[in-house]
């Protein structure tokens, strides 16, 4: 980890990035599970909004990665920390499938699950806690397996 990691600049950049993400979820209404299920429900009244969110997010991020990688290092860290290419493994497929079942059931994925906590609604708190337990279970299983 970089020595300037704890500087005010890093905190501001992380807060700005987080706020942009949360604002994006709120503006696009993707923190509303009804919208997400509306997209996933091809047999119902299909709502294509989610596709627009994804398309524009991918387009902007694509430009970000293209130009960001031209530098030798990020602005506030010593090196890039990109995920290692692990190939297409059974874990990847099984994880994505389990995730897809949960996402389809509730219409909530991790970003919206956290953003929806601003409603202070018991159902969303329950979902977020369960998600946290799921993440913690994976951490434990992963550690025991390695």
């Amino acid at each position: 980890m970089s020595s300037n990691f704890n500087t005010l600049k890093s905190v501001i950049a992380a807060a700005v990035a987080g706020a942009l993400f949360g604002a994006g979820l709120a503006v696009s209404e993707m923190m509303n599970p009804k919208r997400v299920i509306g997209f996933l429900d091809f047999a119902g009244d299909w709502d294509p909004s989610l596709a627009f969110v994804m398309a524009f997010a991918v387009a902007v991020a694509f430009i970000g990665y293209r130009f960001g990688r031209r530098r030798s290092r990020p602005f506030l860290d010593d090196t890039f920390h990109l995920p290692d290419p692990k190939g297409i493994t059974p874990r990847l497929i099984a994880g994505a499938a389990l995730f897809g079942i949960g996402w389809g059931l509730a219409g909530l994925c991790p970003g919206p699950a956290i953003a929806s906590l601003i409603t202070a609604d018991g159902d969303f708190i329950a979902f977020a806690l369960a998600m946290l337990v799921g993440i913690a279970v994976h951490l434990v299983v992963d550690r025991l397996a390695s």
Binding site: A14, M31, L40, V60, A61, R73, P83, I118
Partner: protein, 139 residues
């Protein structure tokens, strides 16, 4: 159903893309929310991740209040399904190495084949799940 909102959806998508851009330019990391939460639990770049998640809550709350709470946000399934869904989302996202943001937004924009496969699988399974729970067994 809610009306299709192409303009808001596009603006929201641009904001999410900018979030990924800022985080990558600043820290050289991808924005994956499930990874962000897992990292906040285990310690790798813990402060950064906690600040990001705090910013996410503040950004969502700011816009929601600014727009005058445009829609009532309510859960779409009841207990115990909401708990089961939460467990599957958390565990599945970590097992598969990412969620809608990590594989979907960041992975696709990095042209990762692995992320493309994950995204196709979770979208396909979610569409099937919605079909079964909304049209076949009416959960």
């Amino acid at each position: 159903m809610d009306a299709f909102i192409p303009v808001s959806a596009s603006i929201g998508g641009i904001l999410i893309g900018l979030s990924a851009l800022v985080f990558f330019w600043a820290f050289g990391r991808v924005v994956g929310i499930s990874g962000m939460v897992a990292g906040a639990l285990t310690g790798d770049a813990m402060l950064l991740r906690l600040v990001f998640l705090g910013g996410l809550l503040a950004g969502a709350a700011g816009i929601y209040v600014f727009l005058g709470r445009p829609t009532a946000i309510v859960a779409q399934v009841e207990m115990p399904w909401i708990i089961i869904a939460g467990l599957l989302v958390g565990f599945g996202a970590r097992l598969g190495g990412g969620c809608t943001s990590g594989h979907g937004v960041c992975g696709l924009s990095r042209l990762s084949l692995r992320s493309l496969v994950a995204t196709v699988v979770f979208f396909g399974v979610a569409v099937l799940t919605v079909y079964v729970t909304r049209h076949v067994i009416q959960l």
